[in-house]
């Protein structure tokens, strides 16, 4: 679980130092144009939904660049580093 004492309903902003999207950062290189559009972009606001019962990873709700509601699990260490409380 994230080290920070985050609770369901808490809001965060994804803030990557190199302005990389979540998928881009995981891959380590730019995504295709189609996947970039669907990526979680730097600056995206998310709401902590809950912690996954199996992995313990936080589930966050967010809206992607095409306006669709999404739920994504975030690596806890990554969450601590790059998701800033708002």
């Amino acid at each position: 679980m994230p080290q920070k004492a985050a609770s369901p309903g808490d809001e965060f902003v994804y803030d990557h130092p190199d302005d990389q999207g979540y998928g881009h950062s995981a891959l380590g290189q730019p995504l295709s144009a189609e996947m970039t559009e669907l990526d979680m972009h730097d600056g995206t606001q998310v709401t902590l939904l809950e912690y996954d019962e199996d992995s313990g990873w936080p589930l966050v709700e967010w809206t992607d660049g095409v306006g669709l509601p999404r739920i994504t699990t975030i690596d806890p260490d990554f969450f601590d580093l790059y998701f800033k409380s708002v």
């Binding site: 999207g21 979540y22 998928g23 881009h24 995981a26 891959l27 995504l31 996947m35 669907l38 990526d39 979680m40 939904l49 809950e50 912690y51 996954d52 019962e53 199996d54 992995s55 990873w57 589930l59 992607d64 669709l68 509601p69 999404r70 739920i71 994504t72 699990t73 975030i74 690596d75």
Partner: protein, 153 residues
């Protein structure tokens, strides 16, 4: 993945529906249901699996960016057979590790956890194997066969 087969209610869904329409039990309260992705081979998914802990469920691992998505269906159509389908596109990911090949969508009643009840299963018209960084998107239903996650009774 624009084309998906018609969905089939799992045992839990069949039981809930029958008890509701024959007034043997109160239906569950209005709320969200969620679409999971499963790697179970065609022919191996057992409709008798009551929860997402079922031996044949084979859901993607969550330590990958994957999470169940809100299904968001229409009201069941006033027709026979009655249909229900997703109103909007559904997108999973982006994936931070390769989750394997998905074969099924499985609708259940919780965002995470194996205690979620398995409601219905939808065989994908073609399997998908997302790579790291990818998002996986399903078409919105229209009521037409083969478009979106359609369930009928």
């Amino acid at each position: 993945m624009p084309a998906l087969s018609a969905g089939q209610l799992m045992q839990y869904g069949q039981n809930q529906a029958m008890n509701a329409v024959f007034r043997k039990a109160q239906s569950p309260a209005i709320g969200s249901v969620y679409m999971a992705l499963s790697t179970t081979a065609v022919g191996a998914l057992q409709s008798t699996d009551l929860t997402m802990a079922g031996a044949s469920i084979g859901e993607y691992a969550t330590a990958s960016g994957y999470a169940r998505q809100v299904y968001g269906p229409v009201n069941a159509t006033a027709a026979s057979p009655s249909l229900i389908y997703n109103t909007g596109q559904i997108t999973w990911g982006p994936f931070t590790s390769a989750p394997g090949t998905c074969v099924w969508g499985i609708c259940c009643d919780a965002a995470s956890g194996t205690t979620a009840n398995a409601i219905a299963a939808f065989l994908l018209a073609s399997t998908r194997t997302p790579a790291i960084g990818d998002s996986l998107q399903a078409a919105a239903g229209t009521g037409a066969a083969g478009v979106g996650f359609i369930c009928q009774v």
